[in-house]
């Protein structure tokens, strides 16, 4: 008969201490989750609208917003953005506001010394501008899918290599996020109890993710070539201009006019 050694039959005495891995879970996994949402969230679908007008309007608003020195003009822009925001459903509103406010907060922390020493109103406008620009980008990607935005870039003869990099980067962020998440989970599972070296392992995790990203990009490019990708995006499904595009153009023109009127005061 098989006799088990003593230590097998002994009762488990080890009780794992609680370890605070707050840093890892909050830092890396948080960032990854946010990046994922950039690409994979529920799209709000509008029928018969192409993204041409909206993309141009966003670009106009971003440029004007960045150039503006007057709070009155920024208020006008925020009026438009909040109207567009209010049409969305609660979940999307929350998501957009959360991300924009978080990043705005971070950027104003960086600016804090400048505000403290040279506090004047123009510097205070910078966080507001950041918020508005982020919100407008967020709105654009919520209303329209990625494909149609790529198509607009193509229409305006943005070099294909840029479109390609843009496209693949966002594809990868998701896949890489998944990889990093898996490695982190396996790290967490293996380090039961207190482990002081956990944050040291972060470097290793990022290294593995980087190596993987190289391999993945190679393989994905090969897979794309195998499916007759020749490096051009000339065949994105074509969009027709609709009346909504013209309304968007019109809004853009109105805002340009507002900009000149308000900035001259």
């Amino acid at each position: 008969m098989l006799t088990l050694p003593n230590w097998v039959c002994k009762k488990e005495e080890y009780i794992a201490q609680k370890d605070s891995d707050y840093f890892i879970t909050k830092s890396l996994l948080g960032i990854i989750r946010m990046l994922r949402q950039l690409r994979f969230h529920k799209q709000v679908k509008f029928k018969c609208s192409s993204s041409v007008g909206a993309t141009i309007l966003s670009i106009i608003i971003i440029i004007l917003c960045a150039c503006s020195h007057k709070s009155a003009f920024l208020l006008c822009i925020s009026a438009l953005l909040f109207i567009l925001l209010s049409i969305l459903d609660g979940k999307n509103i929350f998501r957009l506001l959360k991300h924009s406010i978080a990043i705005t907060f971070l950027s104003s922390l960086v600016l804090f010394p400048a505000i403290y020493f040279y506090g004047n109103s123009t510097i205070l406008l910078i966080p507001v501008k950041t918020f508005l620009i982020l919100l407008s980008i967020g709105l654009l990607t919520t209303y329209y899918n990625w494909h149609s935005i790529l198509d607009v870039m193509n229409k305006f003869h943005v070099p294909t290599i840029i479109v390609f990099i843009f496209d693949t980067t966002l594809r990868y962020i998701v896949l890489l996020g998944e990889t990093a998440q898996q490695i982190l989970y396996s790290l967490k599972i293996r380090s039961i109890g207190k482990n002081k070296q956990k944050s040291k392992a972060l470097g290793g995790v990022m290294g593995v993710v980087f190596q993987k990203s190289k391999k993945m990009s190679e393989e994905m490019f090969q897979a794309m070539c195998c499916r007759c990708f020749t490096g051009s995006y000339s065949n994105l499904h074509k969009q027709k201009l609709t009346y909504i595009d013209f309304i968007m153009f019109l809004i853009g023109v109105i805002y340009c006019w507002l900009f000149f009127v308000l900035e001259r005061v």
Partner: protein, 246 residues
Amino acid sequence: MILFDRVSFCYNKNQETSFILKEVSFSFKKGAVNGLIGKNGCGKSTIARLIVGLLEPSDGKITITDEFNAKPYYFSGMIFQNPDNQIVGTTIGDDIAFGLENFNLSSDEINDSINKAASLFHFENMLDIPVSKLSGGQKQMLCIASVIALNPCWIVFDEPTSHLDPWARIEFWKIINELVINKTIGIIVISQLPEDINRFDNICVLNDGEIYFNDSVNKFKELKSLPYGIEFPEGWKLEKLLEDEK
């Protein structure tokens, strides 16, 4: 037919020892299931990449011809080992459409082909589902669907059933057999599963950068010994035992 004529290949030209293939010659024929087996790291995926033209042979010649219908614009598609890295669309429909869009087809034709390929793999009602929500097996099915949608002359499957459950495997082989009977698409299957050997008509065994065997499965059955690392399916071993008893 795919003909390898004294093909050599190495990844690193500076190292003499790094030859993956040493002057191999063999052929695959359309209208039959061609199997390619060998142990890990013997260069099966490398041969697949050579066939689709992602790699160029260091020496020798690869000829691909199509006896049945000439489709000069698209010869060979490939399904890679890892399903994650070859999905390029955000939704199932997007991914199947990717290759078709590169052909400059009209949107009606594209939709037609998407629906055809999707219904083969029961994806008809899932076209809008984001690919990140698919399981490993579903991803693999999607990869196969999006290459079959392109209707190439040849498809190389690099371990296509590694993430599929046994029932999905049966389904997969049904589809393959249909393709073979219709003689529309030439099939090369790279596999590590002994039971898959039963499904092959012709088999090619790779060992240490050389071709150990290349002929029909019936002849393969009569082989006395196999290189280290490759085994006959369990069923065949039983059959042999029973025969020996008699």
